[in-house]
């Protein structure tokens, strides 16, 4: 055997002997265990929230499908129009005939107002605002219109709403997941975007001064552009047979704000501790000033 081969073998044996303790230690050390196996295709599909039988809204194959051209493009940054009245961020009056829960909410809200206390101040405790009130916060909304979906990103709480316009139906109610902005399915007419939204989470989800909703809450919107594209008009028709009689209608307008963007705006409990009008902040103020009961 040539000497250079003997030398190479010797070096490899030596290296193996020297590295063996390190390998053994790495295998035995709790913090240095061998990496777990990778995801299976099935597990990856689950975690990536893939649909079993249709493309996602941003799949090239879906985007490329031939579709009629929408009558307008909603893409832009928008802000609720409060020029006529600041109260226009609310959806009433007029109000429908509320059943018991709504009637009690109106009375309790008034009593709280007189007492100088907040009422159903869910957002002050970082609960999601939810539809429809998320759209009328005094924060800008970015709207991105794609051929298959309209993405609405509200600066406030960084809330995302997606309106699917790729022809998919609503999710089967047996597997639908309730959310605060609901599931929105839209379709274009010759002059409007019609949106149907349902499957709402109801916990701490209120309208105006604290009107509750049930799991039967349903919104239909007719969205158009006016003023040469500078105003977005949304005509809401809201029903909830468990909470009020008939239809609750309200029309809201947004102004295109071409010099604005959407800042990240998280609701953080520890920051609320600095705001004396929140429950947490008020408790902190009492504690700091020796008023804790």
């Amino acid at each position: 055997m040539p000497r250079w081969i003997q030398g190479a073998i010797t070096l490899r044996v030596l290296a193996a002997v020297l590295l063996l303790p390190a390998v053994t230690w790495a295998q035995q050390s709790p913090g240095r265990q061998a990496r777990p196996p990778g995801l299976t295709a099935a597990r990856e599909a689950e975690l990536a929230q893939t649909h079993p039988s249709y493309y996602g809204a941003l799949a090239p194959e879906n985007l490329a499908k031939p579709r009629p051209k929408p009558p307008f493009d909603l893409t832009g940054t928008w802000f609720i129009n409060l020029r006529h009245s600041f109260a226009d961020f609310m959806f009433g009056p007029p109000y429908p005939h509320f059943f018991k829960a709504g009637q009690e909410a109106m009375k309790e809200a008034e009593a709280a107002r007189k007492a100088g206390k907040p009422y159903r101040d869910a957002s002050g405790q970082c609960w999601p605002i939810g539809m429809p009130m998320i759209l009328t916060r005094v924060w800008p909304i970015a709207i991105i219109q794609m051929p298959t979906a309209v993405y609405m990103i509200d600066s406030f709480f960084d809330s995302l709403r997606v309106i699917y316009t790729d022809g998919r139906p609503h999710t089967d109610p047996d597997i639908a997941i309730d959310t605060y902005n609901g599931e929105s399915i839209g379709h274009w007419t010759k002059d409007a975007l019609i949106v149907d939204t349902k499957y709402f989470a109801t916990d701490h989800h209120y309208i105006d001064m604290g009107i509750p909703i049930s799991d039967k809450f349903h919104i239909v919107e007719r969205i158009t552009l006016a003023d040469n594209g500078h105003t977005l008009v949304d005509e809401f028709t809201m029903t909830d047979p468990d909470m009020w009689e008939g239809e609750w209608k309200s029309t809201k307008r947004w102004i295109r704000e071409d010099h604005s963007d959407i800042p990240e705006t998280e609701c953080l409990p520890n920051l609320n501790q600095n705001l004396p009008s929140t429950e947490q902040g008020h408790a902190v103020a009492e504690k700091e000033n020796g008023k804790t009961k």
């Binding site: 009245s85 009056p93 007029p94 998280e266 004396p276 009008s277 103020a285």
Partner: protein, 155 residues
């Protein structure tokens, strides 16, 4: 529900719709709705019902901390309480972008600065309030939009 910031909404809209409420409960509801409407503090992500927008209180003290954050900025002042001790006043503000429009920077105040602040105080007497204006140590005054923070109007 609520919001934040400037105190009173400038509600000028028609309220005729309130008359559409039905039944004996309708009148009560109409008043409640209108009252709630006008009492809803302007901006915010939470209620401003705890602040007394009809009062302006001026306090002079030392800045303890300043938070330049969305959705609300805030600062705390250590203020002599008249009994030999100090009170801690938490002052709630609008968003940094609101403040930038008024001339604020994230460096405008820092811990240790002596300032005088005007606030709408908490209704229950706990030290704390909603920011209206501030006079800095160098005498410069920054103020929120006076129309936003105007005391409640009669409608």
């Amino acid at each position: 529900m609520t919001m934040h910031e400037p105190a009173q909404p400038r509600a000028r809209g028609s309220l005729n719709g309130a008359r559409r409420l039905r039944g004996g409960w309708g009148t009560t509801a109409a008043f409640a709705a209108v009252a709630a409407l006008f009492s809803t503090p302007a901006y915010v992500h939470h209620s401003g019902a705890m602040f007394d927008a009809s009062k302006n209180v001026k306090i002079t003290g030392t800045v303890m901390e300043f938070h330049w954050t969305n959705p609300h900025s805030s600062f705390k002042l250590s203020v002599p309480n008249g009994s030999g001790g100090q009170s801690v006043w938490g002052i709630e503000m609008g968003s940094p972008n609101n403040l930038i429009h008024e001339g604020w920077k994230r460096t405008t105040i820092k811990p240790g600065d002596k300032v005088t602040a005007t606030v709408h105080p908490l209704k229950d007497g706990t030290p704390g309030g909603q920011y209206v204006s501030i006079t800095l140590a160098d005498g410069k005054t920054l103020s929120s939009n006076p129309e936003d923070y105007a005391p409640r109007r009669s409608y």
